[in-house]
Symmetry: C2
Subunit: 324 residues, 2 copies
């Protein structure tokens, strides 16, 4: 019996696929830009092509795959395998699970991308062996996932783990979701860019001013890190404040969830690394009760871009075992 | 074999005990004031006397008790059964679990009071049959408890479920815990009293002014409800705002936990009832994503003051079954 699994991670900007062998190693890979503004059928074709390329790269036959795991942004109907909707793609009630199963002719599971990423870190990355894990990914937005009692937790709603959309500053800045003062609205890369743009408009100087000509310009992690390292006072102040705000939300979640490990990833964390985490951690521990802080570890995600494909492939493998 | 369990609920103002028979009925009861300002040994004697009185009231013999369940405020060391500390009592690293076991000579479990109350509502009250439950008790403070996948969830820290201490208004009013802007600092009876006192100091009129002569005076649920019903505009505005703020925190928790049921209890909810819940619920559903709101039910706690003793007794019964 084959033990190879195809994992696919559909993101807003790129699609990645990899084949995982029976030992959990990635033996073949492929990736492409998502081009999410194109219609759903075209994006679907891209995803499938990337899947086939990864299989080819791994040197295995489709018939030898044991299963496929695919993850995607946005809420998923776990009964039908449909993507309900996604922020940056045209998928709306799109049967991504069933059609991927049809394409490869193998048992297929579908999972939310952040859940898959946290599950990857839990099974093969920074949170290996933990029982209760809070995963927080700080990038363009803020996503999260929960491992509770050693299993991925989706809640009765199947939509649990949306840690970017807890309110930490009621009446504060407007979030992409429509609310005011969400964690995502005060600590994501989008929030950092907004605050820098606002300060520049009010006459503050910054080396990144030239990168913010259009209202839609978003500073990359790399841009922010370069400005930070060059001593740009405005960027330093706003990035440090974002780390502190992220800690306020995460400290709140320590009090609710009492996790063993907090795994931190995403573009902002990757760009700023340990200093950002240290600042966030201090702020979180300030908020959390001693009992909920003292044994909680803060760690950096280890799998980077691979977390989603590894998590999706692992979930597919486990679903297969459970259904035998 | 006896199937009677003694449940004891040690609160900041009163101690309650009841005997639960094999069918889950409470067959004997007793209660007294805690007098928490007295030394720990004296308070401990009171608790034990109330336990004995409940047993007598039930007409059973101590030797016929199968087990004892006791719950108390504050963090508990579940390995030793010690209360680590409590806000309104002098217990500090007090061996409440072991000494209760010694007193009655029966297997004894100890649990946090809010966890026990939520567990009571889950097993015998408003959340019967649910799989994932968020319990929030709004009174002097705000406490909470979580049922996850059909079991009480304490987290790796054993201190999870502290929903009163998530930050909803960073930089906002100071909380009893030292942080600023906790849910408890914007939506508890203490927060409501503080806001009313502040407005009166600024010259606003209110029928409750006469009840707030001393800095330590705290308006009771009854006082607040009477003023609200008599058309006191200040009290109405501040109570309604507290309901909305409570909803902001609970909406955030819907996004994190995706519960099936939100059980609401505590003095403020009991005093203001369905109108308060309706206002809180609207605010929470405004915050939560559709997927996390649409199937979540908001219900009022059913067991009132009995939730703690019922929950503690039920946990004791289950611990007994598991250890057989």
């Amino acid at each position: 019996m084959s033990t190879h699994i195809l994992g696919i991670d559909l993101g807003g900007t790129k699609v990645m696929a990899a084949v995982m062998d029976g030992e959990g190693n990635l033996t073949g890979r492929a990736r492409a830009k998502t081009r999410g503004w194109r219609d759903d059928e075209e994006v679907f074709r891209t995803i499938m092509q990337i899947g086939h390329q990864a299989i080819e790269d791994a040197g295995v036959e489709i018939d030898h795959l044991a299963a496929v795991g695919i993850c995607a942004p946005g809420p998923i109907d776990f009964e039908t395998g449909y993507i309900i909707e996604t922020a940056n793609l045209k998928f709306k009630n799109f049967p991504l699970g069933p059609r991927t199963a049809d394409e490869f002719g193998r048992p297929t599971i579908i999972e939310n991308d952040v859940n898959a990423g946290v599950y990857g870190e839990f099974k093969s990355g920074a949170a290996r062996g933990a029982r209760n894990v809070l995963g927080v990914f700080i990038g363009t937005g803020i996503g999260g996932g929960l491992i509770i009692n050693g299993a991925l937790y989706r809640g009765s709603s199947t939509g649990a783990g949306e840690v970017g959309h807890i309110i930490v500053r009621a009446g504060g800045p407007r979030c992409g979701c429509g609310n005011r003062g969400c964690l995502e609205a005060v600590a994501s890369r989008t929030a950092i860019t907004r605050e820098i743009r606002k300060a520049i408009k009010h006459g503050r100087r910054s080396s990144v001013a030239k990168l913010l000509k259009k209202e839609t310009d978003l500073l990359s992690g790399k841009d922010l890190k370069a400005a930070y390292d060059s001593g740009d006072e405005l960027v330093k102040k706003i990035v440090n404040r974002a780390a502190k705000s992220a800690g306020i939300g995460i400290g709140s979640l320590l009090n609710v969830l009492g996790p063993e490990i907090v795994v931190l990833g995403g573009g902002v964390v990757e760009a700023f690394g340990d200093e950002f985490i240290a600042r966030l951690e201090r702020s979180a521990r300030d908020i959390a009760f001693d009992i909920n802080s003292k044994d909680a570890k803060f760690v950096r995600a280890e799998l980077g871009d691979d977390a989603g494909v590894i998590g999706a492939a692992t979930l597919a493998r486990e679903a297969l075992t459970q259904s035998l």
